[in-house]
């Protein structure tokens, strides 16, 4: 599928290993990367953005800005967007990656890049989504193009279906643990099979998103009934999905039986330091963070609510921090009462955006705190404090930790 998309966008018969120059369908610049991209744009002699309608900027990593200096960086992004007619997602609208998907910019068969490593997430909608830096974003604004080495592809065949209490997050943590942080370096992953078809778009987003935690360049699903249903209210043009040829060549094939998976957890300080959740059972937790481009969507908060309600509330002294991935998510959770209930129980709700994930906005853990989160990375100092210990787990496991004050298996409703 990677070769097909990159061939269509480059106009040449692109094969794994080739370097091709491709036309970009859509590109995202976040506030973490766009100020530098503006510097590069000016240094490159850029005066106008070719096809500004293909670009969008998001103010998400520093939302809301916690210093005059980050506010000034936001103003620079706003001014550039205004001057060049580029769509801007303001502070509070959410995480750019999520908004790219919600707004229908990530379409089957498209090439969608983002100055954010988690742009692999766009693959959930059958797009070739990949992360670039600020200089590449600047060059794309000037030329409309990006150079890409066509990746080899690893087929990830998913059998079965997830059991109750086991989430897409558990599946991808298990794969990251199995393959390691460079286990899919430079490669495209294709998620295929009946298990892949059984996953909702929100679950596919989790797998595509964390594909980069194995070094993957992309993590692509087929477009199917679920994709069409999700995009039906978001895209008016006809969809142009791609699928692998029957004789497609793969560098490697991996089979995962979803029905055999159990809850997983990544221990400090690497996302591939993965074990079964029960091996960490009883570890005391100080803070639980629900949010990010990996684990901040509607169903994630429903899972947390179910665990907290079934567990009799939030454990005394525990900080439960909730950051919806977008305003659409936030609205839905307001409308259905999830946030009212969790707030009444003592949770803190923060501005939609990247929140506490990478220490740029939201709550920074205190010295020596143990945190469990629905995020994607637990590098030392990731959340802004090098003495904190960060665990990564599913929304349900995070909810169970919020209820009990310790790592423990989520309750399964029967």
């Amino acid at each position: 599928m990677a070769e097909k998309i990159l061939s269509a966008r480059s106009g040449v018969d692109a094969r794994a290993g080739d370097v091709v120059v491709c036309e970009v369908d859509y590109a995202l610049g976040t506030d973490a990367a766009t100020p530098m991209a503006i510097d590069y744009f000016e240094a490159m002699g850029g005066t106008r953005v070719r096809q500004p309608e293909r670009f969008a900027f998001s103010l998400d990593h520093y939302a809301p800005p916690s210093s005059a200096k980050s506010a000034a960086l936001h103003d620079r992004v706003r001014a550039f967007a205004r001057a060049h007619g580029i769509h801007l997602w303001e502070v509070g609208e959410g995480i750019g990656l999520q908004l790219m998907v919600e707004s229908g910019r990530c379409r089957p068969g498209g090439l969608v890049i983002g100055a954010d490593s988690h742009s692999t997430m766009f693959g959930a909608c059958n797009a070739f989504g990949t992360g670039i830096g600020s200089s590449d974003l600047a060059a794309a604004m000037i030329s409309g193009q990006v150079w890409l080495r066509v990746p080899e592809t690893t087929k990830v065949w998913l059998d079965g279906a997830l059991r109750p209490g086991v989430a897409a997050k558990d599946m991808i943590l298990s794969l990251v643990g199995r393959l390691g942080q460079d286990g899919a370096n430079y490669q495209a992953l294709e998620f295929l099979g009946p298990g892949a078809a059984s996953l909702s778009i929100d679950e596919r987003l989790v797998l595509s998103n964390m594909s980069v935690e194995m070094g993957a360049k992309a993590g692509i699903f087929l477009a199917d009934h679920a994709t069409r249903a999700y995009l039906s209210t978001r895209v008016v043009e006809p969809l142009t999905p791609v699928e692998p040829d029957p004789d497609a060549r793969y560098a490697r094939e991996i089979v995962v039986d979803l029905s055999a998976l159990e809850p997983q957890i990544a221990r400090p300080h690497e996302p591939d330091n993965v074990v079964s959740l029960h091996e960490t059972s009883g570890t005391r937790v100080d803070m639980v963070f629900i949010g990010t481009c990996t684990g901040g969507r509607v169903r994630d908060f429903h899972e947390v609510l179910a665990q907290v309600e079934d567990g009799g509330g939030i454990a005394p002294g525990l900080l439960l921090v909730l950051t919806p991935a977008s305003r659409e998510v936030h609205f839905e959770l307001l409308r259905d009462g999830t946030l009212a209930t969790l707030t009444a129980l003592g949770a803190v709700v923060t501005t939609p955006g990247c929140g506490a994930c990478c220490g740029t906005a939201g709550m920074i853990p205190g010295d020596g705190m143990t945190v469990v989160s629905t995020a994607n990375r637990n590098f030392k100092a990731r959340m802004g404090n090098a003495t904190a210990s960060i665990y990564l787990a599913s929304p349900a496991a995070c909810g169970a930790a919020a209820a009990t004050g310790m790592l423990t298996g989520p309750r399964v409703r029967v």
Binding site: S10, V12, D18, V19, V20, V21, A32, A33, P35, M36, Y40, A43, M44, G45, H61, Y62, S66, S67, K69, S70, L73, A115, D116, S117, S119, G131, I132, G133, S134, S135, D136, A138, A139, I142, S143, Q145, W147, R149, Q181, D182, N185, Y186, G215, K217, E270, C358, G359, T360, I364, R377, F379, K380, A381, R382, G384, A386
Partner: protein, 174 residues
């Protein structure tokens, strides 16, 4: 991001481990105050070694294991080492976003077997017909994976800024 890069670099090896992620190279939280690499360079690799930044000398060459630059795509993870005077990074393998950001900023990414290289070794990186690394202290010459022609052209232009200034866009498909 300026003049054409030299064909031959000499420098002192600064040895790091596997999976050095971009947050370790320069932590995201530092970017709240500035993205100016001339200021951020004082925090280079602080999470791994708080004394590292002060010990860097211009011309030093970073030598890492597998998967150097994994994690975020943030380009300060390249511009900060460049501002500190580092002009090449040797690693067994690179994360793809780091590799392309390095090329775009004229930092030479050298993919090679780094296991023989020790801290402080004098290294000579030669970008000739072959891409080689000479370790004077160990008395070995390591042949690195060649750079694809397209990437070499960007590097030889001095990075993506002078490349785009010269061509107005991407010129080649190879």
């Amino acid at each position: 991001m300026t003049a054409s890069i030299p064909i031959r670099l000499e420098g002192r090896a600064r040895v790091l481990g596997d999976d050095v992620n971009t947050d370790y190279i320069i932590t995201s939280a530092r970017k709240r105050e500035t993205i100016d690499e001339r200021i951020l360079k004082q925090y280079l690799l602080e999470t791994l070694d708080p004394a590292f930044a002060a010990s860097v000398r211009p011309g030093d060459i970073l030598v890492a294991g597998r998967n150097f630059g994994c994690g975020s795509a943030m380009e300060v993870a390249v511009t900060v080492p460049v501002a500190a005077g580092i002009r090449a990074v040797l690693a067994r393998s690179f994360a793809r976003t780091y590799y392309r950001n390095a090329i775009n900023n004229g930092l030479i990414p050298v993919e090679c077997d780094t296991s023989a290289i020790r801290e402080g070794d004098r290294l000579i990186v030669d970008l000739g017909a072959e891409l080689t690394v000479r370790d004077e202290a160990q008395g070995v010459t390591i042949v690195a994976r060649p750079l694809p022609a397209h990437m070499l052209r960007i590097l030889q232009a001095g990075g993506l800024v002078p490349y785009i200034r010269a061509h107005g866009g991407f010129q080649v498909t190879t």
